[in-house]
């Protein structure tokens, strides 16, 4: 046997969609996490209820990389239809486990092959009822794998207890099947591969969650009062999580509700309802994905022009059109930035990980009311639906910002002298009143047609231009409120990388690989549009800027070119989209092919200008940064 490979490999399980393997795969993922080893899991599933092949890939990384890796050292084949493909996908020297009822030839001789008599082992599990046998039989491969690579059984038990909410019966049924698989493997298999797990402490204090759940809980801490939604993959679980957690977190002694969640008849109505609620003074949101966002376009335009606060979560999947409904993407950026006809620009938040999904959950509701405009939060399928190890959620550090609202007493003080679209403070943000305000001067008429500062219908050219200029100015104001980018700078960097969203871990991994190839880089993870002053500074600093994103056309690149045309020649687009979560491979290859390596292209002034805190950050090696997120 060659040298042991510890805590640094990938496992892929090929199963039939709908066969109930997700519990088994999550159990593996969670047990490894509980062992303190950095791990990530990605479900690569078809748009199908039952029958098509589906894969779950787990990456174990002692260095903390949780981006997708394209090489599979361990493959578990449970699906006859994908058996050949699964066998071929095993890296040379890897391990191949398969259910022995798949009667297909094993043709590889450069891998370690283990046949698992799943059905035979299940026969011993007499206490499993007939209707659950197929589901529970997935647990046998968990047991075999656990024995062979060293997943601790007590951690598996903890994972099952969590999954089944401590219900004894399902926990023991499943655990016994796992145990039977492990026992069989111990008796009958001789380990010939090199892959092994050893406990670490690198996940201490971390949680494991998906971005959609985090977004829903974050929104609840943001005081969400109204959510309307329409089912769509991969956004559905966000709204469903609201339904799960609102009754728990906003429980009152009188049993009454401070919120409403409505399943609308379509996405037009979903955003329409949320806009109505936002106008009414409720913290309102909707969640959708690309096709839904297309339908929401008309209301987004109305909310922009009529200045209605509302939050729209877009859990991106690949378009155009229905596209690949179960594949991830960052393809809605430019669409969202200029959504709607006529001149418009949006405020967009770009969470980069699960804990930011929580944070932007509450922040987006603050921003919507502060700026009186739709706030778009662009997550994606990978971040939204997969389980990620994450920093725990942090309680909001600021009280809620309810923005500029005038109630009865305010109007009395003003002697009723106010105008809905009057820019009293010079920041482009007017004051608003809310329905139910009993002051006789409170009411105004909201419309998507031309209106003046007092919300009266107007077709006057000067009035139109003034209102549109104020909306443009409001977008400038937004820069002071949206989250600043996260900088990770390296001394002597030859290139600045701009990335956003779920690609961060893959980018960090790529940076280490690029540094090994002689290209030092700094990273700025952009977290909002409009671009803040920090973005401008970063662009100034570097002679070559690589913009990494998961789409075909380089949408962030396009927006940077638009906003910074005078320096656009610095920008190099590394845009790639195959529907799978970002991997370090294409980022590295893309960046290396687009930039001039060798000469130090950093502008001299940067080093001088760098403030003390950033120097500290720069001292960290990129590898360290990637390890803990």
């Amino acid at each position: 046997m060659n040298q042991k490979v510890v805590n640094d490999f990938s496992i892929t399980v090929g199963t039939v969609n709908g066969s109930g393997s997700s519990t088994a795969n999550n159990t593996i993922l969670r047990a490894i996490f509980k062992m303190g080893i950095p791990v990530s899991g990605k479900n690569l599933f078809p748009s199908n209820i039952q029958g098509l092949p589906t894969w779950y890939t787990i990456r174990v990384s002692k260095d903390g990389y949780i981006g997708r890796r394209e090489v599979q050292e361990i493959v578990i084949a449970m699906n006859a239809n994908s058996f050949t493909r699964d066998q071929e996908s095993v890296a040379p020297g890897g391990a191949f486990f398969y259910a022995d009822d798949i009667k297909q030839p094993v043709t590889r001789n450069d891998i370690n092959v283990y046949a698992m008599p799943i059905k035979q082992i299940m026969r011993s599990q007499t206490e499993v009822p007939n209707n659950l046998r197929d589901l529970v039989s997935n647990m046998v491969y968990v047991g075999v794998l656990a024995q062979m690579i060293g997943i601790e059984l007590d951690k598996i038990h903890a994972a099952l207890s969590f999954h089944f909410k401590n219900k004894e019966k399902p926990v023991s049924l499943n655990f016994n099947a796992i145990k039977a698989g492990a026992d069989w493997a111990k008796e009958n298999l001789t380990k010939t591969d090199t892959f092994a797990l050893e406990p670490m402490t690198k996940t201490d204090g971390m949680i494991m969650a998906d971005g959609n759940t985090a977004a829903a809980i974050g929104s609840i801490y943001g005081g969400v009062q109204f959510a309307a939604w329409y089912p769509i993959t991969p956004a559905t679980s966000l709204a469903e999580s609201l339904n799960d957690y609102l009754p728990v977190l906003r429980k009152r002694p009188d049993g009454k509700h401070t919120y409403a969640v409505v399943q609308a008849e379509d996405e037009l109505a979903a955003l329409g309802m949320a806009v109505g609620a936002g106008w009414g003074g409720l913290r309102a949101m909707t969640s959708t994905s690309g096709p839904g966002l297309s339908l929401m376009t008309e209301f987004a335009g109305l909310a922009y022009y009529a200045e209605v606060p509302v939050v729209i979560w877009d859990i991106q999947r690949i378009g155009p059109s229905t596209g690949l409904p179960t594949r991830t993407s960052q393809g809605d950026l430019t669409f969202t930035a200029f959504i709607g006809h006529g001149d418009s620009h949006s405020v967009i938040l770009l969470p980069g990980n699960v804990s930011e999904c929580f944070e932007f959950g509450w922040k987006a509701l603050d921003l919507a009311e502060r700026l009186q405009t739709p706030i778009f939060v662009l997550s994606d399928l990978d971040m939204g639906m997969n389980q990620w190890m994450s920093k725990p959620f942090q309680y909001p550090e600021k009280p809620m910002d309810r923005g500029k609202v005038l109630w009865e007493k305010d109007l009395e003080e003003l002697k009723g002298n106010w105008g809905r679209y009057l820019d009293k403070d010079g920041d482009g943000i007017p004051y608003r009143t809310l329905p139910g305000n009993q002051h006789p001067m409170s009411a105004y008429f909201t419309r998507g047609t031309g209106h003046d500062e007092h919300a009266r219908y107007s077709e006057d050219s000067d009035v139109w231009m003034k209102m549109m200029a104020r909306l443009a100015m409001k977008q400038e104001t937004a820069k002071e409120y949206v989250p600043a980018p996260i900088l990770d700078e390296t001394r002597g960097a030859q290139v600045g990388i701009i990335a956003y969203g779920s690609t961060e871990s893959a980018v960090q991994e790529a940076r280490v690989q690029m540094a090994a190839a002689g290209l030092k880089s700094s990273l700025m993870r952009v977290r909002a549009y409009p671009f803040t002053k920090e973005v401008e500074k970063f662009i100034e600093k570097y002679e070559q800027i690589v913009i990494v994103e998961m789409n075909r056309d380089g949408q962030m690149y396009q927006m940077l070119c638009m906003d910074f045309p005078e320096v656009a020649s610095k920008f190099r687009s590394v845009a790639y989209q195959d529907g799978l979560p970002a991997s370090a491979r294409w980022i590295r290859e893309g960046a290396l092919s687009k930039v001039k390596v060798g000469k130090t292209a950093t502008a001299k002034k940067i080093v001088k200008k760098k403030p003390a805190t950033k120097k500290k950050a720069a001292k960290k090696t990129s590898a360290k940064k990637g390890a803990k997120k």
Partner: protein, 351 residues
């Protein structure tokens, strides 16, 4: 909004129970055509709200896009209004009415807005029984785009630029009943007294009250033989009953009447609808009878007006949400943000 509107005055004369005069209920001057049925309906909304002593700040106005949808500017200037998108009034209203469930709402839509582009939302707001008056100002034609057929235009209607309509019309009342509406009435802008009484009852109804009001377009579809014209309406109107409405707080003076000549329907808020029999028996609490009547009216070319269907005790949309008594839009951070002590528990709920 620059000129301050009068507060509730002290003058006792010509004021209603909340101390407001009729002028406190008016809107801006109409910019619709002279003689448009919609203006007559706006006036009846003003009259109904004044007579019901509704505080204008406790009423919301909604509309979509089209001639009809412009009209909320022409009544109740002291009420909040939202003129939204074409065919999308229902969704905006559905969300907005969660803000404060103590507020009433009146929505004005048209046959283009509700029977074509907004048919889906129309049927869903009805299905949900959102607490609002939903008026369809129905003239069979697109006015703002200058005279195209709408989906309620009768088959065979001939319009100047568009030839002869080849399709069967959509019947707003039938669609509403098919979607389990709890209040459906049809009226005619040329019958202002009935319009006003129906609006009052519709406001008092808890749930979606659909009023399909034939409201002639004097510019594009008022030919004598057109089914949405003043002449046709006057010649073919056949009231189902003499409709009158007694608000909850008014003492009901029971007139002597022959048994079987009058039907009373009590609404959720205690107000009473009194239906005096005219000719045939008609019971507006039977869905099946309502649909049969509409079918017959269509065959016999009659404009049957009055209360077609009512189901007063069904819960409204927001009733199903068990909301706190304080209006949702007046809740504070303490009501809305879980306390800091919950954060660790939530993190424990994750793996």
């Amino acid at each position: 909004m620059t000129t301050p509107l009068p507060m509730a005055g002290a003058a006792p004369a010509n004021v209603n129970a909340v101390g407001l005069a009729r002028k406190d209920y008016v809107g801006n001057p109409s910019t619709l055509c002279a003689g448009c049925g919609h203006n007559s309906i706006s006036n009846q909304i003003i009259a109904a709200c004044y007579e019901l002593s509704i505080v204008p700040e406790k009423m919301l106005k909604f509309s979509g896009i089209g001639c009809s949808s412009k009209s909320p500017t022409y009544f109740l200037n002291r009420s909040f209004g939202f003129n939204g998108l074409h065919g999308r009034m229902p969704s905006v209203a559905t969300g907005a009415l969660f803000a404060d469930v103590n507020i009433e709402a009146v929505g004005v839509s048209g046959d283009g807005d509700s029977a074509s582009i907004g048919m889906g939302q129309f049927k869903h707001i009805v299905r949900r029984n959102v607490n609002m008056v939903y008026i369809v100002e129905n003239n069979g034609v697109y006015g703002l785009t200058k005279g195209q057929f709408s989906a309620t235009a009768e088959m065979g209607l001939e319009l100047k630029k568009h030839g002869i309509n080849q399709y069967m019309p959509i019947d707003i009342c039938m669609e509403a009943i098919a979607s389990n509406a709890t209040f459906v009435a049809r009226s005619f802008a040329g019958d202002p007294k009935q319009v006003k009484e129906l609006i009052k009852a519709a406001i008092s109804h808890r749930g979606t009250a659909v009023l399909d009001i034939i409201s002639p377009c004097v510019t594009f579809n008022n030919q004598e033989n057109a089914h949405h014209s003043y002449t046709w309406g006057k010649d073919h109107e056949a009231p189902l009953h003499e409709f009158s409405f007694v608000p909850a707080r008014d003492e009901i003076i029971v007139e002597d009447y022959e048994p079987g000549t009058q039907q009373e329907v009590e609404l959720h808020d205690g107000s009473i609808i009194i239906l005096k029999k005219l000719g045939k028996d008609y019971n507006p609490t039977h869905r099946w009878e309502a649909l049969k009547m509409l079918e017959e009216a269509q065959r016999e070319n009659l404009l049957m007006t009055g209360l077609i269907y009512v189901e007063p005790q069904k819960p409204s949309f927001t009733d199903g949400y068990n909301l706190v008594d304080t209006p949702l839009n007046r809740l504070s951070e303490a009501d809305l943000r879980p306390g800091p002590e919950t954060m660790a528990k939530v993190n424990d709920l994750m793996f």
